[in-house]
Amino acid sequence: AAECIYVTDNIEKIKENEFKMQNAISGYIYRKPNNFSQINQNSNVFDYLEAFEHNSRRLILSSFDYIQKLKKLGKTAEEAWNEAGVQLCQASKAHTQTFLVRTFIGTIPKIEDFAVKSVMEDILWLYLSYELVHSAVGLLEEGFLSSQQMDIIRKKMFDSLEKIRPNSVALVDSFDFTDRELRSVLGRKDGKVYENLLEWASNSPLNEYDVLPFHEKYLGSAMRE
């Protein structure tokens, strides 16, 4: 944040910034942001990535500005850091979320099987739209996203749910968990849940007795008094 000066005529500074923009994790912070999102019905995933980057960049720089302002008001660096703790956590979360998004986007092209790539693109679109809907407050506040664009994103999310529905069981089957690993009557691969629920309950040590050993000592005698 300290190094991000967007408007400068210092050639050395510009070259340095360009080099730092290559960093796969934090390079985006150095890029000069657009004022408005390009998201529309025909957007690609990079328009969505730009929104995540805009959001985390904004939170990082506003946290930094807040700390500088506190220092000018006479706070020590440590006091300012503590005062800005909540904003810093939000900035870190957003920055980490941006990394998760970028890595997910970067993984899809590595999938060779066409049918798998197609269903994973549905999953990616759900992930992008769902996460953006849940982290868009600041972007709306600042006007980077419009309410029409939010409608587009929300529609994309619900359309993705629809597209995933027919593949949902096959998607979880692809993890290839055995019933042994899942240790779950509900999650059995054969779906025979209710018959096995009764059998599972028979394992309960309590079921070794029809009448529990202490029943007479307490409840039995108490009820007759």
């Binding site: 930094f64 529905r165 042994r180 899942l182 509900l186």
Partner: protein
């Protein structure tokens, strides 16, 4: 197979094996070989009964039996030098609620690999790999967790005997929480404040024998115990440990990075934080490993949501129509899709990132061994933020899976309560999440 589930599988537009092989990084066939070998061993490698029905003592005994069985079969079925195969075999046989070799594999072994010099590695790694001892990793103290600089356990060098003297100076200095420390481990990587020639050089790793090899009794000057029941991981004897002037040879300080010479002279490491690489290894493995637990929970929830029918979307169904058509599959409700499919998407997002971070870890370790530690700060910063964000998303996701199964989700029959209580620990261990976010923030502010 339940017809409601069978008809779902017919609709698929892709081959689950292809996606599975991509998800498991080309290892799906290998996983199937391992699981069929284990299942072929029958009772020897299977729990006596579902562990949720056992008392803690019964679980500990059964998991000890299974651990011995695993050690006996390990070399026949896996490549013991591949951590992912070790973890898979351990979870298949011993489950995930704690077992004697769990911390041995995920914490102690990586810490020794990353902190032993060549001579120390030659002496101790074969014993660790052959499971001739049970090791764990003790850093957290009763009063000190994420702030490592405040750890109180001391290791003071005595040049006259060329030994370190370990001490627990206060009650809050008691080592507290390390897995398998209470009853199982007989060796331990201890993180203690290093004192030599009258000066403190901060936290360093030491290799300490805790119990007599033959009798397993705790050694004089050492107090060990179980810290008692907790939210989950019931078959893990998370323990406490106190030292009272306990002496260890100088060469039991792990000296790959920092060293202390016989005279007591301190030789600093290449990079101040390099000693924490085992913590970073655990974090990078955690991110991927815990995405798998979320995958298990969402598998249970989506399958059951196709088996469970409830209510009708189009009101006015007659009793006869309901009898024949049946109620609606719960997964056909938009609210259930909205609850579960994003969780499924998180599984892939987190798993892919875990793989990327793991590759980044091996790059960093490779560089450190070659003398370059510049990537360390990037991995440290990113790893902290990812550990925090993904552990939150995973724990929340498993809770959604439980809720989506209705009443049965609250029962251990679903398997979800165990997953939840086990994963919820990750919100705190390996670094408290808020502190992790603030660690990431520190480097963001510099940038």
């Amino acid at each position: 197979v339940n017809p409601d589930l069978a008809e779902e599988r017919i609709k698929a537009t892709f081959d689950p094996y292809q996606l599975g092989n991509f998800f498991w990084q080309g290892q799906l066939k290998r996983r199937r070989e391992i699981v069929s070998y284990v299942e072929a061993q029958g009772a020897e490698l299977s729990p006596r009964m579902p562990e949720v029905f056992m008392s803690r003592m019964e679980q500990m005994e059964d998991v000890a039996r299974l651990s011995v069985g695993m050690a006996k079969h390990a070399e026949k079925v896996i490549d013991v030098f591949k951590p992912e195969e070790q973890f898979y075999l351990n979870s298949l046989i011993c489950g995930f609620n704690g077992s004697p070799f769990h911390l041995h594999l995920i914490m102690a072994l990586p810490a020794m690999i990353n902190n032993c010099d060549d001579e120390q590695a030659g002496e101790w790694l074969p014993k660790l790999l052959n499971r001739e001892l049970i090791a764990t990793y003790a850093q957290t103290e009763m009063g000190h967790g994420t702030n490592l600089r405040a750890l109180e356990t001391t290791a003071t060098y005595d040049p006259s005997t060329e030994q370190f003297i370990l001490n627990t100076p206060t009650i809050t200095a008691t080592k507290w929480w390390p897995g398998t420390l209470g009853k199982s481990a007989n060796f331990c990587v201890i993180i203690a404040q290093l004192w030599t020639n009258g000066k403190c050089y901060g936290p360093h790793p030491f290799w300490v024998q805790l119990r007599d090899i033959e009798t397993h009794k705790s050694l004089p000057g050492i107090t060990l115990g179980d810290i008692g029941p907790k939210l989950g991981t019931s078959s893990n004897d998370n323990g406490f440990l106190r030292f009272d002037n306990y002496r260890i040879p100088r060469r039991h300080m792990l000296m790959k990075h920092a060293k202390v010479l016989p005279t007591g002279e301190y030789i600093p490491p290449l990079h101040a934080k390099v000693g924490y690489t085992s913590m970073m290894y655990v974090r990078s493995m955690m991110i991927y490993g815990h995405a798998i637990y979320l995958a298990q929970a969402v598998t249970i929830a989506i399958r059951y949501s196709c088996v469970r029918r409830q209510g009708e979307i189009n009101p006015g169904f007659t009793i006869v129509q309901i009898y024949f058509a049946g109620e609606v599959k719960v997964l056909d409700y938009k609210t259930q899709q909205y609850r579960l499919f994003p969780v499924l998407a998180h599984v892939f997002a987190i798993a892919f990132t875990g793989i990327y971070i793991n590759q980044l870890y091996y790059t960093v370790i490779g560089d450190i061994n070659a003398g370059d530690a510049s990537l360390l700060a990037d991995l440290h910063s990113l790893g902290s933020g990812l550990k925090a964000l993904t552990s939150w998303q995973i724990t929340k996701g498993i809770e959604q899976c439980r809720l989506s199964c209705g009443g049965h989700g609250y029962s251990d029959a679903s398997g979800i309560p165990s997953l939840y209580t086990m994963v919820a620990g990750s919100l705190t261990y390996e670094g408290e999440n808020i502190v992790m976010l603030l660690q990431t923030a520190r480097s963001l502010m510099k940038i």
